[in-house]
């Protein structure tokens, strides 16, 4: 067991050290909703100062891990994980970095070396295959595949001090639609294809990954 102060950024967000960018976004969404003011999970369990302290830690961890350069620097300096220099210099496209699995972590001179995989497309392909071939395993993960609904998004918006009016002005989406997204009042929304467009714009304005939010938001009640 570790003290909160001793948790590294990955531990704070419950991430593996080879987490993808999508994983980081998702973990951040969950962490913020866990420690937000209206969180049911934190209700009467944590002192308000502890909850606020945790939110600050989460913000710092997220800001570091989501930035490729900051993350590499953090990994090297704090976790003593160094990137494979030979490979890391061959990324002229600036494409998203895909970290390989744990078994690609090797030890060298007492340090852990992480091999980066810049071969865009290879990772998603193998993931798709694994989902197709292991349906049962996929089903087992139902509980883990978090659904981020309107309540979570509202918590994050409020935490960031952003009003619906502000989002409406910048995105030109009617406030009533934004509110309906947060309230999951689907009857007030236009056809799903349009509503998803609104959702992505809303997420983008909150600096969240629109695709992660779009995938995890369900346009139907349980």
């Amino acid at each position: 067991m570790k003290r909160i102060e001793d948790l590294n950024y990955y531990e704070l967000l419950n991430l593996a050290e080879n987490a993808s960018t999508g994983d980081i976004h998702k973990a951040y969404l969950l962490a913020v909703s866990t420690y937000s003011k209206d969180s049911l999970a934190a209700y009467n369990i944590l002192l308000d100062e502890d909850r606020m302290d945790m939110l600050k830690r989460i913000e710092t961890a997220y800001a570091t891990l989501i930035d490729k350069n900051k993350r590499i620097s953090y990994d090297e300096q704090v976790l003593k994980i160094t990137s494979n220099a030979a490979v890391s210099h061959t990324n002229p496209s600036g494409a998203d970095i895909h970290f390989k699995k744990d078994d690609d972590l090797t030890k060298k001179d007492g340090k852990t070396i992480r091999a980066f995989d810049f071969s865009a497309g290879s990772m998603p392909k193998s993931r798709d295959k694994s989902v197709r071939e292991d349906k049962d395993e996929y089903e087992f993960k139902t509980a883990d595949s978090a659904i981020f609904g309107g309540g979570h998004l509202k918590n994050i918006r409020e935490m960031k001090g952003i009003t619906l009016d502000e989002i409406s002005q910048k995105t030109r989406i009617k406030i009533s639609y934004l509110k309906a997204l947060e309230d999951e009042d689907f009857k007030q929304l236009p056809a799903e294809v349009f509503a998803r467009g609104f959702l992505k714009a809303y997420a983008k304005y909150l600096a969240l990954d629109p695709e992660v939010v779009n995938r995890s938001y369900k346009f139907k009640k349980i």
């Binding site: 067991m1 009467n44 945790m54 349980i222």
Partner: protein, 317 residues
Amino acid sequence: MSQTDIPLIPDYPAKQIWAIGGGKGGTGKTIVSASISILLAKTGSKVVAIDADLGGANLHTCLGVRYPKTTIADFLLKKIASFDELLINTPIENLKFISGANDFLTIANIPYAQKQKLIKYIRNIPSDYIILDLGAGTSFNVLDLFLISDCSIVVVVPEPTSVENVYRFIKCAILRRLSNSLNSPRFQDIFKLATEARGNESIKTLYDLLERIHKMDSSVAADLEKKLDTFSPKLIVNQVRENDSITIGNSIRDITKKYLGVGLDYAGYIPYDERVSEAIKKFKPMITEYPNCSASLCMNLTLKKLLSNGQPSTIAK
């Protein structure tokens, strides 16, 4: 194969005790216990479901048994000759049932010796799975039955009172587990402080407790840390009505890990379903009466997750 290679005893999977608790009443522990028992029995395993809610037994209703002839009270009050007489057949193949004790005022608070006797007999029941449906609260009787299990399951509903109680239950369970493993009275005062800790007191988290013990005896602290690391209850979120409530299991897991040091495993969620109360009103098990309702389907998925986690002997005794 030579004769010496032939195993004398067939390699059956070891018997497992699963306990379903959670602190608060009304969260659906009994429905979950009944559903797990029936689904396991349908896989061909021999299952005994025990209503260990001695103060408010009603598992029999959820299993479709109207009037249990014998109860644990009969055993504790020596009204029957042997523990085996408690085993009642149910409408489900492979599933037997032991009823709790409804009608005796004092039976919910059985003394230590009787509890030990009960635990001994439970451990000796010939079965593949023993499912314990525990009562509400954090009494030592409830906690000790929870802690004898190979797979301990807590049920929570997404409501403030239930969530609050589930943390309290887990905290009490882990403190009881650690406390039970210590023989020396010199640590008991520290445990008392930890149990009563609130706010900014000196022993606020389990980390503080372990640190304090470490200063007194590092080997004892190391042993307790092992006990803490191997305590991994499963969490089921029941009566989910909103999409957002599904993630509360992940949130509870996160807070429990960071602030209590206990690694919960989120096994699954069960949506709120009117069919549950409809089945109860008919005195029928939900799983058999409405096998395709959303609650039954999610119960199936949750059980798969529980079984896929490997033989849940995650709790080292």
